[in-house]
Symmetry: C2
Subunit: 212 residues, 2 copies
DNA sequence: TAATAATATGACGATTCCTTCACTTTTGTT
DNA sequence: AACAAAAGTGAAGGAATCGTCATATTATTA
């Protein structure tokens, strides 16, 4: 019976002076670095504080517990990536399928690769039971965004739009996670955006029929 | 600097009587169950032993440490899935692309869904730094298998075979992991094999050109 | 400048966990 | 049945970690 400790995750104290904002940011970045270098198992609050150049006590003034630290990093990452994709999708409403796929895939790959350290570091965090909710919520929003934009496509329609949108989502996130986590060869990484576009478009064109 | 403690992972004692084999199996299965129910963070040797209906001492007679326990489960899983795919690929050497994709995808999905509890449980384990090597080795073998079988296709060839094979691999593993881990709706899960076939074939047909 | 508020520190209590080992019980053999 | 080998047990040493709090330092305000 897993304790459903709905721990408080909001900061206990808000930074009011400039120096403390610096500290908060340093702790945030240190969390990513420790995750990358040591792994989740060896991430301790003391290690994070040391890497950030402060002390545990300070850490606990801004993050109520270790969990909150990991949540903060995960939340910002999925939030930013989601927001980028949402904006890209919005900008291609009512365009042909190829334009939609191109814009969305590019935005997604761009957002992920711009934050590749975070993406790598968070792989193990996202796998923990405690983080599922956060990730799922973000995925639901993403699915809604993709469903909406696919519906506006001017040249094609889908028999089963929910499935098509889900596969589009899975085809972007799944392989990209695999690629980033697995440390693909540079040749692959460079070509990723184009390859992923092919993958998604290849599927969606098969799942669609032309509008008369 | 992460300690590269290449811990001994082979069992300290081999089971010689029937009862001990039962125990070893029970511990193995209990590991999966604890992972599923409690998560990696809360997996302790005592919890595993209790769930298996034995004691910690017994556990340590067959697994030298906690890490070895997780490795054993992960290794069997990737080994079995890899083997299934390998056999499927072998059986469609020298056939057209559609036949190859169909056989390989089906075998992969079959193997994964037959072991869906394991797959779910291992998601967090595979994310740990310590497990990377094991997973990477399996992925390398898989890539070699896919490269080999794609080369034998009778109706198409690839400009860039390594990239095509990598994407084929990523298109199978990535979305399936996403689907299983995210707990997709049943409608999606039921249609998964067909959808994944579309995804892979859609990509590969774009990346290929017909043999004259 | 003096007083107050904000920020920072790190030793420490409490807890959890890994692993060992001296010992018991069960099974197989002579 | 007597003995040896295999299997099983769980208390406890030792190590690691979380989060607190009494105290110290720095900034802001009056």
């Amino acid at each position: 019976m897993a304790k459903s400790k709905d721990a408080n995750l909001s900061p206990r104290k808000k930074p009011r002076q400039a120096r403390s904002q610096v500290t908060v940011d340093a702790i945030f970045e240190a969390t990513i670095q420790v995750l990358l270098v040591e792994g989740l198992q060896r991430l301790t609050t003391i290690r994070v504080a040391e890497r950030a150049g402060t002390s545990v006590g300070t850490l606990y003034q801004y993050y109520p517990n270790k969990q909150a630290l990991l949540f903060a990093v995960l939340q910002r990452h999925v939030g930013e990536v989601g927001e980028h994709v949402r904006r890209a999708a919005e900008s291609v409403h009512g365009r042909p399928l190829t334009a939609i796929v191109s814009a969305v895939v590019r935005a997604f790959v761009q957002a992920k690769t711009d934050r590749i350290d975070e993406a790598r570091a968070l792989y193990s965090v996202a796998g923990e039971l405690d983080s599922r909710r956060l990730v799922e919520e973000s995925e639901e929003r993403g699915l809604a965004v993709l469903t909406a934009v696919l519906r506006t496509s001017t040249d094609v329609q889908f028999d089963d739009l929910p499935t098509a949108a889900y596969m589009f989502m899975a085809a972007m996130i799944g392989p990209t996670t695999y690629m980033i986590e697995g440390g693909a060869p540079p040749s692959i990484m460079r070509a990723w955006s184009g390859q992923l576009e092919s993958l998604c478009l290849g599927y969606l064109e098969r799942a669609a029929y032309a509008i008369p």
